[in-house]
């Protein structure tokens, strides 16, 4: 009896949470009228190029950071590196550094490499992400050492071992890191504002700046449209995501 009652309570709680989560979304949706959607999708020709550009950058960041993180995790775990705990501590610390801290030096760095006002300026700084590396390492910890040992007996090529033994087991984590880095890349605001000046290189996330006051009602429609790729991505990869993040243990 208590169990039944408990179950109802739990369901009510979930309902309340769902409503709280949905309320602002619904408010946003209601403010976006069909006419807005129409004008964004059909009339305003800036939307599609910006959309695909944002998607492109986010995908590049996702893939790039996965590659970098996998390599780093492999190196850290199997490469017999000393003071791994120290490195992990530093990674955690770097993850917490607020963006404003490094904004100006990054700008100067990019400028001296003459990468400003180019797509690379948006992608490169995000490739080495402490979050991704940390996550990948934690996951890789769950990969048994024996498989690696066995593969090492077969071949001396790191690449082969990577592809045949490690990567298949890391699928979940790779998906997780990709989804998170994709979300980061899609929603970044400060970097495009400061590192890039050309209008064509500014992704959708800095929309507030470029929309004139006449078009401000389009913000809601664009917001909904931005949500869609993320939803799709999350929908497809939810299982992997859950599994990947579950392995955050020592």
């Amino acid at each position: 009896m208590a169990k039944f009652f408990g179950k109802i309570l739990i369901h009510i709680f979930q309902l309340v949470i769902a409503v709280c989560l949905l309320l602002p979304v619904v408010l946003t949706v209601t403010k976006a009228t069909l006419a807005d959607f129409f004008s964004v999708l059909v009339e305003e020709f800036w939307f599609y190029p910006k959309f695909w550009f944002s998607l492109g950058i986010a995908a590049a960041i996702g893939i790039g950071s996965v590659v970098v993180a996998v390599l780093a995790a492999v190196g850290l775990k199997f490469g017999r590196i000393k003071h791994v705990k120290g490195i992990l501590f530093v990674l955690l610390l770097l993850m917490m550094m607020p963006l404003q801290t490094t904004l100006l030096p990054n700008y100067i760095g990019l400028r001296d490499l003459s990468l400003l006002d180019k797509t690379e300026a948006l992608i490169l700084p995000m490739l080495a992400s402490p979050f991704a590396i940390y996550l990948m390492y934690q996951y890789m910890d769950s990969v048994p050492y024996e498989g690696f040992e066995a593969a090492r007996l077969e071949t001396g090529s790191v690449f082969r071992i990577l592809c045949s033994v490690i990567l298949p087991q890391m699928r979940a984590c790779i998906a997780a890191v990709f989804v998170f880095m994709f979300a980061e890349g899609f929603n970044m605001v400060e970097q495009p504002l400061y590192f890039v000046k050309k209008e064509t290189l500014k992704p959708l996330s800095v929309l507030a700046e470029s929309l004139t006051s006449a078009n401000s009602h389009l913000i809601f429609a664009v917001g909904i449209l931005c949500m869609i790729p993320m939803l799709l991505l999350y929908g497809f990869y939810e299982e992997e995501l859950t599994e990947g993040l579950g392995h955050l243990k020592a």
């Binding site: 989560l21 946003t28 801290t101």
Partner: protein, 261 residues
């Protein structure tokens, strides 16, 4: 060139190390350098004077206080809520799955679109509540995803054993789930702090001004205003101090976790 196997493995870290060095370490060192100068165009060393100026500035203290308040209130709330939602959603079957999928939604909505909605809901409220709400609403999804994954990967046998010993659901979760998932919980807490710093974006859009009401004036407002006044030295000094503080915080957490083990 035939490299030894383990050397090759060590080299795998190179891209990550290069990226971190270039975009995190070197910039931090630069910031450290700038923080001991008199001005960007007056390259004299004044060492700790900037730090003293910043620490004794009443608005920096206000900003610190507000930021610490934000972290102290929001992060535990964030953690608590995330644990509750994820745990209970695992019991709620289909609805639970739906809620889990829903919780990630706010994270992907661009801030710009949502701030307007929140402005409507919290129109007359004169406290920091709107900002706390935005923070919780937007980032709870991340906590839920991580914790759900962690909780669902606990071996069910442990629960079986505990149930046979006569433990009720509450005790089971308190003494099994939470300790077993200590690492993910710690990670979620750290994530909470990271996201606390990110709420500056939403807060700025919400108040639309460089000088928000006193209760919402956090460290980033201070830093941003210094930046706009071309006083980079104060900004650099406060950045270095924040980083050191965070280092202490992380060290504390890791230390406690190690101790617990």
């Amino acid at each position: 060139m035939k490299l030894k196997f383990f050397t090759k493995l060590k080299l795998c870290i190179l891209p990550a190390a290069a990226g971190l060095l270039l975009f995190y370490f070197l910039p931090f060192l630069k910031v450290l350098y700038y923080s001991v100068l008199k001005g960007q165009y007056q390259k004299e060393f004044v060492w700790l004077r900037n730090y003293k100026n910043v620490l004794t500035n009443q608005y920096f203290q206000l900003a610190c206080f507000n930021t610490l308040k934000l972290i102290a209130i929001c992060v535990p709330l964030f953690l608590l809520l995330a644990i509750l939602i994820s745990l209970l959603s695992l019991y709620a079957g289909r609805m639970g799955r739906f809620v889990r999928k829903l919780s990630i939604l706010p994270l992907f909505l661009p801030s710009v679109s949502v701030v307007a909605a929140f402005l409507l809901v919290f129109e007359k409220v004169e406290s920091e509540l709107p900002i706390y709400s935005i923070f919780l609403w937007k980032y709870i999804g991340m906590g839920v995803v991580i914790l759900v994954a962690a909780f669902s990967s606990v071996e069910p046998e442990i629960y079986e054993a505990a149930r046979m010993d006569g433990a009720g659901p509450l005790t089971m979760h308190a003494y099994i789930t939470l300790p077993v998932c200590a690492k993910p919980i710690q990670f979620t807490m750290i994530l909470g702090v990271v996201y606390c710093f990110r709420t500056f974006r939403e807060s700025y859009l919400y108040y639309g001004a460089n000088y928000p009401p006193d209760y919402s004036y956090t460290l980033q407002y201070y830093m941003n205003n210094q930046f706009l006044k071309l006083n980079y030295q104060s900004m650099a000094a406060s950045s270095v101090m924040i980083t050191l503080l965070l280092a202490g915080f992380v060290a504390l957490c890791s230390g406690r976790k190690n101790g617990a083990e």
